[in-house]
Amino acid sequence: MESTPPEEVYVEEFDPKEHQGCYIFTLDGEEDRPTKRRKTKGKQRATEKAAVEEEKCPFPVLLDNTETESTIKLRYQTYCKLWEKQEKRTKAILDSFNSKTLDDVSAFVKDATPEKYEGKIPTALVLAGPNIASHELLFEQLAQRIRNQDRTGPVVVLTSKDATNLKTTLRKLIRDATQQDEGVDDEEEDIIRKSAKLLNYDLQILQTWCGLHEGQKVTIAIQDSEAFDSNILSDLISLFSSYLDRIPFVLLVGIATSVEIFHDKLPKSAIRLMRGNKFDVERAEECLAQIFNDSMMSDKAVLRLGASVCDFLLERYRDHTQSIQAFVAALKYAYMSHFYANPLSIILGFLDSIDGLGDVLSTEHVEAIRNVPSFRRYVEGRLAAKEVSEVCKLVTDDDYVRHTVAEKILESRNYGIKLGQALAFLEIGRSCTLIQNKTPRYELYAKALSGELQTSPLVREFLMSLKRMNSTTLLNLFEKIMQEVQIPAIIEALGPLQEKIQKLVDEAEASGGKKNLISEFDMTNNTLRGTAVSKKVRLGEQKSSLTKQDTEYSGLIQQVYTIAESYLTTTFNSSENGLQNVFLHEIFFYDLRSPHSAVFAPKPRATIERGLSQPQDYLACACCTSTDGEEVGIRGSQAPTSIIYQLYLESGALINIYDLWSAFYSVIAGDEEHFDVATAQALFYRSLAEMRFLGFVKHTKKKTDHIAKLGWKGI
């Protein structure tokens, strides 16, 4: 464009930095010239410190601005404390998952020698799963580990972006490998001098380097093997192979899909040059399950997610991100928004010792508690139980409310813990049976909270198969449950039964050598005969074939069944044990879906389209809204771009600018046509420029003075 930037001339309050690419921000009046460093240093520190002081509490004042400063601070501290704990646990889980892979791979790299692999390139296939977001981190960690901890030699991480062609790939490889350990400049120069005549993508350079660094292995990590051009990859591999006697290469290949696909990608000749091992990075689902169990169901968790948020997060995980980091971020956001906006969240800080709670809750807090639905439900429950005096106190006596809250919160908290235990029981139970689809606990959790589990086939199925269990699996199940879930009710009830069954088994073993006791309810063996009559016959046969121990065992298993059934049905019973009956569950369960969906799953395009096609939704102005609230269509009073956009929606794939202009003018001028043409024209040009800026139209050469439409609304 031949035009000079014109704004400088015409706009009064012109900010010269508007058109500067980037600059360091300074406040008005503050000089951004480099001041004398020595002096400012102290001052800067001081101001920074002051800033830190001042920023101590970023939380707003809630409760109609009546919240006292100390409670705000307390709220913030509670947030920091609780999230820190949670984060630590989460991080530990994540680290443990990574560390196993890291250990395995680094061990592989350590003792990989070409001799060991019949002269082929030692190769580790790292199956890292479909979440490419985590690959970078994984390879970074791998490289760090091999480089700094194991000290086996340089590590070069190659990504498909580096590998546009063989030359650049090799160049990067050599550069990265030879420059990795710093502080050996003379050596480096040495190499450079020696290899002065060599081209910078000649592996000879690396060979020289290897000569200088005896015993160092060169580890090449190919991060995203799928995205590599297969020719480049196979060329690289054949090059490595031919240099293998001089440069000890070790290859790490990151695979997001499957080994088969990797095999298909390369020619057989290249595949033949590699030998090695496959490393399964632990399944992401397992990791998610652990984090979820820890953050939602363990007794350490304080704030839990409600059903709808939970559904949202899991759905997003399953269908979109597949990323655990994203899940953790969302979890953090739940903590953040809970403590940011809920004044009652301070109660969560008092779970360990209820002592100070009564003093902290102000009158406003108590009033807020009274407004919580679960409190109301609680009062109504009291009322139904005809405890009028207590209801009176709850409604009028603040101290009594404080007292009740202090008394009840532990109970409320235990609800979550109990639920978690029951789910653990169910999950473990189901994993011990022959049920095919293993539903992880995190799937069950949301169902349990919304009361769906009460009538769910998931529970029924488990109970049915529990009845049919033989002694081995049942004992196995007992063992697992005793180990992993500490439910006093269950352990007490099942303990004696376990002993009895164990005894029976021992007896049976001693008498007849039969190790496995069968339940009389087990019908799995007699599916051979199809007809009803024959089944009946078989049933009789089977009954009679049961030994004495078997019959006794059947009696015991019936007891186990009864215990499990009553336990599960009462825990999942939504009318008695539902979430809504939990006193102050609003504080313990965060269940606002919309903040999460707005922040993590936004619809930027639909937002722009809505803003332009229905500006009244945002502006809520009288001029663009009709009285009955129905759609208004195009109006002259709307913003020019909005008018253009609505005209644009009506038009075809090619738009004549002149026609658009005349339509625009007739809209903006209205019936009286008193709008200044030149101004309208200027507005028209500006709006058109905005449309282009937003990506709705582009220039086309198909016809003179036409633009092409690029976006269709609502797709």
């Binding site: 690419g21 980037c22 360091i24 937002t607 040009y685 500006r686 220039h699 003075d705």
Partner: protein, 580 residues
């Protein structure tokens, strides 16, 4: 014309105009008689696939029953003959109101008719239609229940969304069935025709189609609109050009924009105020290690600058990047960030390529900062503790490359660096793959401001849209360029322009059609002693091409054609200036 009358008076129309049933008997007796005692011919024609040889008037056959309902749903409807389709019909007033796609009563009823005739009949299509209909029925139920339930909710977005979906299914189905409607129409008409034996059915079909098509208002959103607007027929646009518009140069453009009183000033201010109320929350989110991304219509520059003032704490803690500046490079960004981190007087070698600079920056940030106030004299620089990047338009042209985004995401994923960015392009989210998204760790916020993009987009964008030439801005720029060029260059341009004008005079059309062949122009230039060799000629041309005063294209024979991309009037003014 006559056909039209039959259409408007057909029983399908009765729901909207119940009184018209009287006219039916007079204008189209044949049609009117159908519901009463379906003449065998018609019935067979309609439902031949269904009930081949049976005389149809038997009311017991479900097929017949249905058909009766269909043909005039509301005439009979009091008796409740309706099958499943009936429920579809009931909310009709509501539907008409809700779905803007079909506005007039005529087409609505057409569709309704079609829907019911087609679906029960054809066995092959049955599956699909049924599926559609069940979804559709559900949506209807939903809409109805919604309407009945009244406005007792509802800030529940999801419900609204589902509702929208329901309505969409409902509406979308309607438009899909238009063709079916035609077909069904055809069949009745065909039947009628056969009996009266007047015209060939094909001609009626054509007319019919046209007619119905005109009656439908085009779909405005959703996939339908795409297919509708991309039909061959729709590509026809008028031939008017912008030539008839007076040229608008930059100065008057800016004067006019400045003088224009913007609309909705108060509302915009209010909207911005709403966003400003979120500042503490945003700040908290930044503090917690998230990055922010603002989206929505309207320039967010001003809002972000206000936010910047709020979060600004100490010198060098905030870097502003204007992503919309076309000349910005990622290297600039990185060097500025480095400068902010280690101070302007640093002596550290940053490295030459952006990757190296980034590595240096990150390693500086990673080195633990000397605690306490032990001012070590050896330290060359004083790294700041935390830095915030304020990036207007992370989707700006200059930053759209993968490389730039990779670098930015790596930079912003560092715990000591926060990023506040904005996007405007509707396809901006496509810039990032899963890995980038997770590195950016964005929290998205709707920040629709309705503020004009006065800084981000310029009038030149608009001009570029219009076709690369300075149409709207006039030929002023050309004059400036020519004024700064030597005499022989001016002469060359004069030759070109006059040749082109000559071509236009001869009726050669416009643009490249009247262009000059490269060789011809060169010959002329040599003849007029403008240049002596091809080399010099090319240099001269290059200047023009750089300023987009000359376009070059190979024509169908493969010869290079040159022309000045201006209109006749503009060429004339240029020529006048050149000669004067």
């Amino acid at each position: 014309m006559k056909r039209k009358r039959t259409v408007s008076a057909s029983p399908r129309n009765t729901p909207t105009k119940p009184s018209s049933s009287a006219t039916i008997t007079t204008t189209a007796p044949t049609l009117a008689s159908i519901p009463l005692n379906l003449p065998a011919a018609t019935a067979a024609e309609i439902g031949s696939s269904n009930t081949p040889n049976r005389p149809l008037p038997l009311p017991e056959t479900p097929g017949k029953q249905r058909r009766t309902t269909l043909l005039h749903p509301e005439q009979l409807n009091g008796t409740g003959v309706g099958t499943g389709t009936e429920s579809v019909h009931t909310p009709s007033p509501l539907k008409r109101q809700r779905t803007p796609m079909i506005r007039d009563g005529n087409s609505t009823t057409t569709v309704r008719f079609a829907d019911s005739v087609v679906s029960p009949g054809d066995a092959m299509g049955g599956l699909v239609t049924n599926a559609d209909r069940s979804a559709r029925r559900k949506s209807v139920r939903r809409i109805v229940s919604k309407a009945i339930g009244g406005g007792e909710d509802s800030d529940d977005e999801d419900e609204d969304e589902e509702d929208l979906l329901a309505r969409k299914i409902f509406g979308g189905d309607d438009s899909d069935d238009i063709d079916g409607g035609l077909l069904a129409d055809e069949e009745t008409l065909g039947a009628q025709k056969k009996r009266s034996g007047e015209k060939s059915s094909t001609s009626s079909r054509k007319k019919k189609k046209q007619l119905v098509e005109e009656e439908i208002t085009a779909p405005m959103d959703g996939p339908d609109s795409y297919f509708f607007q991309n039909r061959k027929a729709r590509l026809v646009t008028s031939n008017s050009t912008l030539a008839s518009l007076p040229a608008l140069d930059h100065s008057s453009y800016f004067r006019l924009i400045r003088e224009h009183v913007p609309d909705h000033v108060d509302e915009r201010a209010y909207l911005e105020g709403l966003h400003r109320q979120n500042f503490p929350q945003w700040e908290f989110e930044l503090k917690q290690g998230f990055n922010l991304l603002l989206y929505g219509y309207g320039s967010k520059r001003n809002l972000l600058m206000q936010f910047a003032k709020r979060i600004y704490r100490s010198p060098r803690s905030l870097v502003v990047i204007n992503g919309y500046v076309p000349t910005l490079t990622i290297k600039d960004v990185l060097t500025t960030v480095a400068k902010a981190i280690i101070g302007p007087e640093h002596t550290i070698r940053l490295g030459s390529n952006p990757n190296d600079i980034l590595d240096t920056i990150l390693s500086i940030l990673d080195t633990p900062r000397p605690t306490h106030d032990e001012v070590d004299e050896k330290e060359e620089y004083t790294p700041v503790n935390h830095i915030t990047l304020l990036l207007h338009n992370i989707d700006g042209e200059a930053l759209r490359t993968t490389r730039a985004q990779v670098l930015l995401s790596r930079l912003s994923s560092h715990p000591k660096i926060s990023l506040v960015a904005s996007i405007d392009h509707i396809r901006a989210p496509l810039l990032w793959d899963a890995a980038r998204v997770s590195q950016f760790n964005f929290l998205w916020h709707d920040a629709t401001t309705f503020a004009p993009y006065s800084v981000e987009s310029s009038i030149d964008d608009s001009l570029a849209l219009i076709g690369g030439s300075a149409h709207a801005g006039g030929t002023k720029g050309v004059k400036f360029v020519l004024a700064s060029l030597p005499m022989n260059a001016k002469s060359l341009y004069r030759v070109l322009v006059s040749h082109q004008l000559q071509g236009i005079e001869d009726g050669g059309g416009d643009g490249e059609e009247v262009g000059v062949e490269y060789k011809v122009l060169y010959q002329k230039a040599v003849e007029e002693f403008i240049c002596s060799n091809d080399m010099a000629f090319r240099t001269l041309l290059k200047e023009f091409q750089d300023h987009q005063m000359v376009s070059l294209k190979k024509d169908s024979q493969g010869t290079d054609v040159l022309w000045a991309p201006f209109k006749k009037e503009e060429l004339e003014t240029i020529l006048e200036d050149l000669v004067a």
